[in-house]
Amino acid sequence: MKKYNTPLIDDLEKGPWPSFVTEMKKAAKNNEMANDALGHLEKCYSTKVGYWKHGGIVGVLGYGGGVIGRYSELGGEFPGVAHFHTVRLNQPSGFFYTSKALKEICDIWDKYGSGLTNMHGSTGDIVLLGTKTDALEAIFAEYSSRGWDLGGSGSALRTPSCCIGPARCEWANYDTLDLTYALTQEFQDELHRPTFSYKFKIKASGCACDCVASIARADMSIIGTWKGDIKIDQAEVKNYAKTMDINAEIVNMCPTQCMSYDGKELKINNAECNRCMHCITRMTKALKPSGERGATICIGSKAPIVVGSLLSWVIVPFIKVEPPYTELKDLIRKIWEWWDDNAKPRERIGEVIEMKGMRSFLEAIGVQPQPQQIKEPRKDPFMFYTDEDIAAYKAKEAEEKKTGKYKF
């Protein structure tokens, strides 16, 4: 195997943080592809430019996604990376593994690929980094026969992902792992066979901490919340008071200013709490949500291309999230249907909602307007009225005339 001189990236083996270059070198020891990837990367570092070409369409039979085609402009110089496709494997909910399963993944990958991985990709997949076109079918056969399926790519449902939730977190308001598994299974076809106008991502967080960053990185963000009071254990409050300035750190930082603490008792005006989780996370032994559990559904976040980055918008302020998740699955189908009817190619759902108007979207999916959906009402009086709207206002006025009482 060719030994590349890599002084620039060698420098990245120094220092306390674990080195990806060391990882590449480990793989390069017995793997031609990984070895050429090293040389190829050194070349990028020395010339300050990348040499990968646009992805071509490669994949496995019957699937439209799961593999990102990648070729180098320098295939002659670095034949090991002339083809260097990535394979996305759908990760298990919560990124839990046994060593047995992981080792099996490694074995197959060493056999057919570069021995390089990303644990994990930003969307959540196990990313197997670099293989050749003719190995793809074998890779798929090996993995799928052992229970692993490909993840998403292209204009399809992308691999849903979730926070660790009830597996190890006291704050999960619903079972993020189970929901993610259930949705992934339910929508296998949408995941493997791109028929959407663009990608669609689902991320599930158990509470407002949003440890899977759903509000910013998912077309559909499912964020756990509750309806009910925060229960207070005053004895634990006293314990916290020993090490914490409760007024400075909790009460004064409460966004709704619905708390008070007189040095003895902590009080919460639950009616005004917006369930932001600050107090709970800082006093987890003392404070616990109670009452009904469920989630808030938000729609539309994405990276900046084309219309600027979006955060997801609240659509359904509260929904129960319980197996078999029928309501949620139906909602997703309705969302896709409207999107399908209204999107141009390469338009994410958020972009289409912005184009067509929130009303059209909400009406299509059967959701009522609610002030919880907005930060503030519209400012400019440029609004649409349907004839039915006006008729309804007039009917209300007629009713008011009768009763003598206004309903604004």
Binding site: N274, S301, P371, I374, E376, R378, F382
Partner: protein
């Protein structure tokens, strides 16, 4: 009778000639002021001089007869000096304390109303309406009169947490400062305009008409040598109607008003704020628009009861959250309140935190 010689480009008279002597003397050297009653305040100069102001309500639409009456009063108590405010009230400027009470008495006797200084409701910024404008979808003066009759106590006596600035605009051109008022009424058309195609060619410029439409609802109709309007996209702003007479948007049964709240101009405490739509439509009910008036009064009362001292309506709402504003006032939340114009992406909530 021969006309006097016209002059051009002379600009307005220099203001100095109209300033009372006490102002000329203490110009720029005022030290502080005190509000004495909702209708009177006194400004004290560094020199120790004092200037009393008596503020009187005005319908803004004044006959020369009333202006002359105001002049007569000013002559009697203020050496002929008076001014109007930026919200169209009249201010009598008194430099001699002895004249203050008799001025107030005479004003009262003549039926003039004093008030509006401090945390009160003062005059309503408004526009022409049916009195003078072609675009009006309501009458502004009538609405103001109806509102202020009902809110009158807040002008003359009743305190509020802070000033409440009201405005009325008779169309979405919003010649009053509706867009940044605590509570404002903006009249709205609600139907797609009709076009007299035959007249279009002679009376309108095609690019101007097309360019006038904020939502690009207008496209050329070459067959008729006119334009056509995409009803799906038109939100009845009337801008095409403003630039092209053969386009008509007025409709007696459909024209009405909307109510917006929470705006603010000054930068005290919080930044200036736009007013936001809370009631999308109330039918025109001249002469007194009872539902409009009741809605405004209701909002004022809920505010008065719930806000902290010094909080303007918008500041109060931002503290409690718009969802709480809707639940406290019991106002229906409608699709119209959800922005689908420029700021949709920024006005939708992007967090799972809100109140029930």
């Amino acid at each position: 009778m021969a006309l006097p010689q016209r002059k051009t480009d002379i600009g307005p008279p220099h203001y100095k000639q109209f300033l009372p002597p006490v102002i000329q003397k203490n110009y720029g050297k005022w030290k502080y002021h005190e509000v004495l009653t909702p209708g009177t305040m006194v400004h004290v100069a560094e020199s120790g001089d004092k200037l009393w102001t008596v503020r009187v309500a005005s319908p803004r639409l004044l006959s020369t007869e009333t202006i002359r009456e105001q002049c007569d009063i000013a002559e009697k108590y203020c050496d002929g000096h008076l001014r109007y405010t930026t919200r169209n009230n009249v201010e009598f400027l008194v430099s001699d304390e002895k004249k203050l009470e008799s001025l107030k008495k005479e004003l009262k006797d003549r039926g003039f109303k004093m008030g509006g200084i401090g945390p009160h409701i003062t005059n309503v910024v408004h526009t022409q309406g049916w009195v003078h404008c072609h675009g009006a979808c309501t009458d502004a003066s009538g609405l103001v009169k109806a509102m202020m009759d009902e809110l009158y106590d807040y002008f003359e006596t009743k305190k509020l947490p802070n000033k409440v600035r009201l405005a009325v605009a008779c169309c979405v051109n919003m010649c009053g400062a509706v867009h940044c008022s605590d509570i404002a009424v903006v009249a709205v058309h609600t139907k797609v305009p009709t076009i007299v195609h035959e007249k279009f060619k002679n009376m309108c410029e095609l690019p101007t008409v097309i360019g006038s439409c904020p939502t690009r609802a207008i496209s050329p109709d070459p067959a008729q040598k006119s334009v056509k309007i995409n009803a799906e996209k038109c939100m009845y702003c009337g801008n095409c109607f403003t630039v092209c007479p053969p386009i008509n948007i007025k409709d007696p049964e459909r024209d009405g008003v909307a109510i917006v709240v929470g705006g603010k101009i000054n930068s005290l405490r919080t930044n200036p704020k736009f007013s936001k739509l809370v009631i999308p439509y109330i039918s025109n009910e001249p002469p007194r628009w009872p539902k409009v008036v009741a809605a405004i009064k209701h909002i004022v009362e809920v505010y008065a009861k719930n806000a902290k001292k010094h909080e303007r309506i918008g500041e109060w709402i931002e503290r409690i959250g718009w969802e709480r504003f809707f639940s406290l006032t019991g106002i229906d939340f409608t699709f119209q309140s959800i922005d689908d114009f420029t700021f949709m992406r920024d006005t939708m909530r992007t967090s799972a935190t809100f109140k029930w």
